[in-house]
């Protein structure tokens, strides 16, 4: 695969060039109009906005929504796809030449996805506008067609992102996460449509009128993103305090959290539950901060004590009560002799118990992956839930196969 890494973008660029030529050749609009639309898309493609899933949307979504609505007195499909092709191609070239490393890293897949989505939008728009025009007349037809085509685009964008982002977590989970991005996508489509509607009447005031409300939303998304990052960084730093104090093995909380999150998505937990798993896994050993108290050094402690102390500390944070409960139960067996599975024990606690044991075996006891899995399998009678063990096995074997 790696040998063809540079081939893909080249093929894509050639395709864009071809579509641009054919589109402009078929177009009834002037070359100037198509070029202006292309420049609009190219510029917009360089401005991105972070969404809650981790995907980054670009303003090209807005521009590519506006272009089909604007170009031509009657709909001009050739002009629209020509402008889209010109726009994404020139945006990509600019990014390759002047973009930062961070931007160019994902540029290839982002532009491929976005340009294909834009073609889909244009195609669905032209088809639906014709169909809707027969039912409800031309006045409402363009609005109905734009909304429907935007839904198709959003579906494609989220689906394609979930399929191409591989991060040790399940695709189904990524898809669920991507659907939570709807506010960002919605605001981009809305600002594109708004611009298309007001441009003929307002002229030069149109960009101002369209961008004022959008910039409000943009700032909100951007700052929410920063706040989310800050929050998880804070949790991570707090979780590492016992490690830097030498009370708990270095990196254990990070590794346990990574594995737990992967398993949680594998087992089909929803985004909120996965977040709880992440926080609880990071903080599961925070109770160890208590270990350097003199009387504890004298009296000794059990695993359950650490779970209790940790949960006491976490429950001081009002937004983490759920996490505190999960940490409290992190050592409980999923089943006791002669009984059935404990239905009250939350899945996240079971995941953390097994993931922490796995990391302990590989990192501190020096076990190989297979030996560590064997530890989990042997404990599957009472300690580790077989479903969770199976999840860990799947994730770990997948990781082995990749490396």
């Amino acid at each position: 695969m790696t040998r063809f890494r540079h081939l893909e973008p080249v093929l894509w660029a050639l395709t864009m060039l071809g579509i641009a030529f054919i589109g402009v050749g078929q177009s009834d609009s002037s070359l100037v109009a198509v070029s202006i639309a292309g420049v609009l898309i190219a510029g917009a493609a360089l401005i991105t906005v972070p969404a809650s899933s981790g995907n980054r949307f670009s303003l090209a979504l807005a521009a590519a929504t506006a272009v089909p609505l604007l170009i031509g007195p009657i709909f001009d499909f050739g002009g629209a796809i020509g402008a889209v092709a010109v726009g994404f191609l020139s945006g990509w070239v600019v990014l390759q030449l002047f973009g930062s490393d961070e931007q160019t890293a994902t540029a290839d897949s982002d532009f491929l996805r976005q340009s294909f989505g834009a073609f889909l939008f244009a195609a669905f728009y032209v088809a639906l506008e014709g169909a809707a025009g027969m039912w409800i007349g031309p006045a409402g037809a363009n609005l109905v067609a734009a909304v429907a085509a935007a839904l198709v685009w959003f579906g494609f964008e989220t689906g394609a992102w979930a399929m191409t982002t591989y991060d040790r977590v399940s695709r189904r989970y990524l898809l669920r996460l991507a659907v939570e991005d709807w506010p960002v996508a919605f605001s981009l489509f809305a600002v594109g449509a708004l611009f298309a509607y007001v441009l003929p009447e307002l002229g030069w005031w149109a960009p101002v009128v369209a961008l004022l409300p959008y910039s409000f939303a943009h700032i909100a998304f951007y700052r929410s993103h920063l706040a989310r990052v800050t929050y998880s960084q804070t949790i991570r730093s707090l979780a590492r305090i016992p490690e830097v104090a030498g009370l708990s093995p270095d990196g254990h909380s990070d590794r346990t959290a990574d594995l737990s999150v992967a398993v949680a998505t594998e087992l089909g937990l929803n985004p909120h539950e996965v977040r709880m798993v992440e926080y609880a896994a990071r903080l599961h050993d925070i109770g160890r901060i208590t270990l350097n108290e003199l009387n504890i050094i004298k009296v000794g402690f059990t695993d359950d004590d650490i779970a209790r102390w940790g949960s006491e500390i976490i429950s001081e944070a009002p937004f983490l009560t759920e996490v505190a409960a999960l940490v409290r139960q992190q050592h409980d067996p999923y089943r006791r002799p002669g009984e059935r599975k404990d239905p009250d024990l939350p899945i996240p606690s079971k995941i953390i118990k097994a993931a922490s044991a796995f990391d302990h075996a590989t990192s501190e006891l020096g076990f190989s992956t297979l030996e560590a899995l064997e530890v989990l399998h042997r404990g599957a009678a009472y300690d580790f839930d077989p479903d969770v063990v199976e999840g860990i096995r799947h994730i770990v074997m997948l990781g082995e196969a990749q490396s």
Binding site: L143, F186, A193, N292, I313
Partner: protein
């Protein structure tokens, strides 16, 4: 106070009614299909008010009142805006806390301000059909109207607070600049949106939808921020509670730092930063072996070094959180002396003098250390602490900061430390059970 509030509420309601009456007498009510959607949006905005931005102080409701006034156009502006402001006086928290009188007062002042703003707008409307060439004039008119709206509103609020609480200085005038700026921005945006409605009515749902989505994101943002602060606070509290002698220390140091910083005219983000630095200034000790922290008597040189190393490890960890980095810098600089020297801190390491924020934290920390009981001595008196701080001003402490602390603590009328224990020696003897207070 309740009687005063009720009388004031009646007076303001009367004022509002008179203003509404004048608008009804001179203007026509706008068509209901124009009025209803604007009213719904304005109501929702006020009801679900979120803190949007530290720099935009004024409520976004004003922007919607202006947009409606412009959208309704000549002959309708004042009555339309007033009729909308009249249906939106309550917020969610008003209902939750049953603040009836306050809501009525709010209603009165909002209606009066909206009517006046509407009349200010009238001369700026184009005579015939609207075109994009009218936009600049309408925008200027809306900015003027926005200023009128805010100043009338501001004046009435100030008056109400003065009458009810008998306070003379209500809001510091230093914030006038930012209020004026946001007023102008809101006026401009409101005016443009209203004018857009005349030319492209279909654009309005899109605009409101965009604002709505932005609003949602901002409200989740303020929730996240709250969660962030609550989490850090909770952890610090929980970890601190394990040590009997320093319980409440960080909270008090944060409070003293805030007192000093406010007196030295810190506002907004800068003030927050000092408060946060105070909250985290002692996290470093979490990684230090307890026997060292709780040791009776003075630390030996080797132990002292160990303390510094451990403190730095945790500080580095917190500095990984980008948001906390400036606070960590302040916190780690607070052991540096005003004249250079002392242990720890980037300030010392680079040979730079500590920042003013770090100097504030140093004084607040020292004051609380002296006025609270430690493992090796009981609390000293407040007067003694002031004396000590002043004696070391210019060398260890910044004289300006010390004076700010003394003045602001005296002003609050609060007292810290023991009533009359004026010597370090005596305090130590009492703690060792050899003396009597």
């Amino acid at each position: 106070m309740q009687a005063v509030k009720v009388r004031l509420a009646i007076a303001y309601a009367g004022l509002g009614a008179v203003a509404l009456g004048i608008a009804v007498a001179t203007q026509e009510f706008p068509p209901l299909r124009d009025w209803a959607p604007f009213a719904a949006v304005a109501f929702l905005t006020v009801y679900y008010a979120v803190e949007v931005n530290d720099h935009l102080t004024a409520s976004p409701a004003a922007m919607i009142f202006l947009a409606t006034a412009v959208a309704f156009g000549a002959g309708h502006a004042a009555l339309g805006a007033a009729a909308i402001s009249a249906v939106t006086p309550v917020t969610k928290s008003d209902i939750a806390e049953r603040r009836v009188a306050l809501s009525v007062i709010n209603w009165g002042q909002t209606v009066v301000a909206a009517v006046l703003a509407g009349f200010v707008l009238e001369p700026f409307f184009p005579a015939g059909a609207w075109s994009q060439r009218d936009f600049p004039l309408v925008a200027v008119g809306a900015m003027l109207a926005s200023m009128v709206y805010h100043f009338v509103n501001f004046g009435l609020v100030t008056m109400a607070v003065r009458i009810v609480y008998r306070k003379r200085e209500v809001r510091p005038w230093s914030r006038m600049g930012s209020i004026l700026r946001s007023t102008i921005v809101m006026g401009f945006v409101g005016g443009l949106l209203g004018a857009t409605y005349h030319l492209v009515p279909v654009a309005l749902p899109f605009i409101f939808a965009l604002f709505g989505v932005g609003y949602l994101a901002f409200s989740s943002l303020s929730q996240l921020r709250e969660a962030q602060e609550a989490t850090l606070r909770g952890f610090i509290k929980a970890l601190e509670a394990k040590d009997l002698y320093t319980r409440g220390h960080t909270e008090r140091v944060a409070y003293f730092s805030q007192l000093i910083a406010e007196r030295m005219n810190y506002r907004g983000t800068r003030l927050e930063r000092v408060r946060w630095a105070a909250l985290i200034h002692d996290v470093g000790k979490l990684a230090v072996p307890r026997d060292l922290i709780r040791k009776r008597g003075r630390l030996e040189d080797g132990e002292y070094q160990q303390l510094q190393v451990h403190a730095h490890v945790v500080e580095d960890l917190l500095a990984e959180v980008e948001f906390l980095r400036p606070m960590v810098e302040i916190a780690s600089g607070h052991h540096s002396r005003f004249d250079g020297g002392g242990y720890g801190g980037t300030g010392h390491a680079h040979g730079n003098p500590p920042s003013q924020e770090a100097r504030i934290l140093a004084v607040a920390d020292a004051f609380d250390a002296m006025t609270s009981t430690r493992s090796y001595r009981v609390a000293l008196s407040q007067e003694f602490a002031f004396q000590e701080l002043r004696a070391n001003a210019g060398t260890q402490f910044d004289p300006e900061v010390v004076e700010a602390l003394v003045q602001s603590v005296v002003e609050t009328g609060e007292r810290y430390g023991s009533p009359n224990l004026g010597s370090e020696e005596a305090a130590r003897l009492i703690a060792e059970g050899k003396g009597r207070q």
